[in-house]
Symmetry: C2
Subunit: 428 residues, 2 copies
């Protein structure tokens, strides 16, 4: 076991540079822990001349990541370019074909092509590891697939997009509108080049789809994630949810139900006092619920050079130590295709609406809810200066289907202005 | 890899029965994940006739755990008896000598004899795994030795004794004295047969010593843990700490300093609003700080049938999957002997004292602190009905040595009644 493990790193952005720094500064520590040296053979990136604040002169340079992936002096191909098509996919496929192990931080690629890639790798007896793709520095893939391997997983939940959590907590703290904080976050460089990946929940949904697969032994199915971004969350929602004892979070939830696998990534209310409710700023949190262990909460940085590089190196060290876990925790060919269950699990909902100052307005709304079988837990009507009163309702548990019927009925009344807002309250 | 992995389980208390239940109820799931069946060959416990609410008829019975450990049909010896001498130690040594892998939940045994046992196992090419020995169901050994394997660990902290945390939070919630809550906890069966293991901090210190070893690559050294239990924490401390924005926790802290390895298990103040400060009841929490990843917080059940059995099974599954990590994350022979540094890291302190109603009383105290080089961050004097005023002081960072000198000086004044209380404030 004193043969060095030789890495080829494609992508020298923040994370790639972070990995190079760890390999350079902790060479002795890594060798002691792995029982063998960890070395970098070659690197690849778009621009060779860019100053990256790290010495790359000892490593071979490849302009083409596919060429890097095939090199004879590379044992582990580390893909840190991102993107679910193009160079990332081509090079990863080339690495698998060439019989390399793969470590990647690419959530989009695996959420969309993970099943095919894992099958291809496993046919060759090689592994794809992706700890860095989910919740940054938090070793959640390891906790789920290994630490909790004796459990039947019941539910996985998480705040897994730091930018969205930053926006939501900043709106509340500063009393600013979504648009104002969005612009602020964009200027601070907190958002992806395509901000919809963040605020539309897509990035977080990629992560959820990967967690679902390892939690439930199912083929990764990103298209089945019910997806709703944070763009429609208003400062009024945040304030009035707070008034009811809740925070609004972009929350991912995956659970196996009698009707199939439910995967949701959407704004949800969680209690103020819960660990998820108390999560501020860019930090990530994942909650794992399983039959034997109960509830485990993991909290840590969800992005950034050090945390993401730490996750990449955790995978590299596993490979160096001879641990060869299947990509999704069990052989890819044994993963089931799950039926997608949409909103299968009933939940209480928070409803916000504006009712006109008309006699009987509230009773019309209450009657519609009652007819739909939805009972009211709490209700508040707020003072108002104009002709419409803000009304908040917290329902008891109901299905989304029943709720949607009631919401449609609301439109047929003439007691409401604007469109009512409905946000699920997740029990945590 | 379709050869079954055959377990021998010694100790059929809560945890042992939990492991049997998981193996029985999740046979198919475990086989799918491990790629091979997990089966129980034989079990051992003190009483064969005791009703354990689980069917043991398919397994061979051994009265003697040493005989169990040596059986030809056992690949992994699971030691769940407890105790750092006697049957637990003898049988574990027998298992190692017979060339078995070992999984144990025995923190005392490993904290005291871990180095010798690990060296013996590794000489034979076998592993000892102990996830269940630290923080119950939280996969913290795995997170530290594997997930964070690319990091230099800076500090490890934790609330790792649920009974102590229950007592401290119950004292605050109910406004009860330590003695009253101790009795209550004892009657509820929350405490060990020897309660000093819990409230004296010994059990938690065993766990801390194990975490230190895997965090810093040092030989486990339980004797070097600075140990102070919760018996001297009063309801006044808890109330007045709360008034200053803090909670009192039995906190374990391990960090490598310029002067050596500091390991402390003692009551500490942590901010109300920190994850540690918000931890209620019997839940455990471990905080890992490392150079690349920053801070990771893990929270979960620290004890009980399901959680502890979950941790045991995590280790069993690693072995079943062919992952053979050294006991302490690197070969035992490469672990350094660390110099023990006592109270090497300066910290702010909370001081509580009662000063007599004499002119100049407070100035005498302030002068002693000043002469010792200790500056005052905040000070409060409370209303009082008798002749002595409760005074709280929060100092700026100071060494414990300087503080102890000042405390000794206090005794030479004649302005104080009783002995002052000093509790470290840990930055979290």
């Amino acid at each position: 076991m004193t043969t060095p493990l030789r890495l080829g790193i494609a992508g020298l952005g923040t994370v790639g540079v972070g990995v190079v720094k760890i390999v350079q500064t902790h060479a002795a520590l890594l060798e002691q822990r792995a029982g063998r040296p960890i070395v970098i053979s070659a690197v690849s990136a778009r621009s060779k001349s860019k100053n990256r604040d790290v010495d790359l002169s000892d490593y071979a340079w490849e302009d083409d990541p596919v060429a890097l992936a095939k090199r004879d002096d590379v044992d582990v191909y580390i893909e840190l370019m991102g993107g679910h098509e193009g160079a990332a996919k081509d090079s990863l496929e080339a690495a698998i074909a060439a019989g390399k192990d793969v470590v990647t931080a690419n959530k989009a690629l695996l959420a969309i092509h993970g099943q095919a890639l894992a099958e291809a790798a496993e046919e060759k007896g090689h592994v794809i590891r992706f700890e860095a793709a989910v919740a940054g520095g938090i070793p959640v893939v390891k906790a789920l697939t290994e630490g909790l391997a004796g459990n039947e997983i019941k539910r996985v939940m998480g705040v897994m997009n730091g930018s969205c959590n930053y926006i939501l907590t900043r709106m509340e703290d500063a009393g600013l509108s979504y648009d104002a904080v969005f612009d602020e976050a964009n200027q601070l460089g907190y958002l992806e080049a395509d901000p919809e990946l963040d605020v539309g929940g897509i990035d977080a949904a990629h992560k959820l789809a990967l967690l679902s697969s390892i939690a439930f032994g199912t083929q990764v199915d990103f298209d089945a994630v019910e997806l709703e971004g944070i763009g429609s969350v208003t400062i009024d929602d945040i304030r009035q949810a707070a008034d009811m004892g809740y925070k609004i979070k972009l929350l991912g939830v995956a659970q196996m139900t009698g009707r199939g696998l439910e995967q949701r990534m959407s704004p949800c209310l969680v209690p103020n006092s819960s660990p998820l409710g108390q999560l501020q700023g860019g930090t990530n949190m994942v909650v794992l619920e399983a039959d034997a262990v109960g509830q485990i909460v993991l909290r840590g940085p969800g992005a950034g050079e050090g945390p993401t590089a730490s996750a990449v190196m955790g995978d590299v060290m596993d490979i160096a130590r001879g641990f060869r876990l299947s990509t999704f925790g069990q052989p890819a060919k044994t993963l089931r295709k799950a039926r997608a269950a949409r909103a299968a699990v009933p939940a209480p909902y928070y409803l916000r609406m504006r009712l006109l100052d008309k006699p009987g307005a509230l009773s019309k709304i209450a009657a519609i809810l009652g007819d739909a079988g939805i009972s009211i837990d709490r209700m508040r009507q707020y003072e108002h200066a104009d002709t419409a009163a803000p009304v908040l309702i917290v329902t008891h548990k109901t299905t989304r289907t029943a709720l949607d019927e009631a919401l449609a009925q609301f439109e047929t009344t003439n007691v409401m202005t604007g469109t009512p807002v409905a946000i699920r309250i997740e029990a945590v």
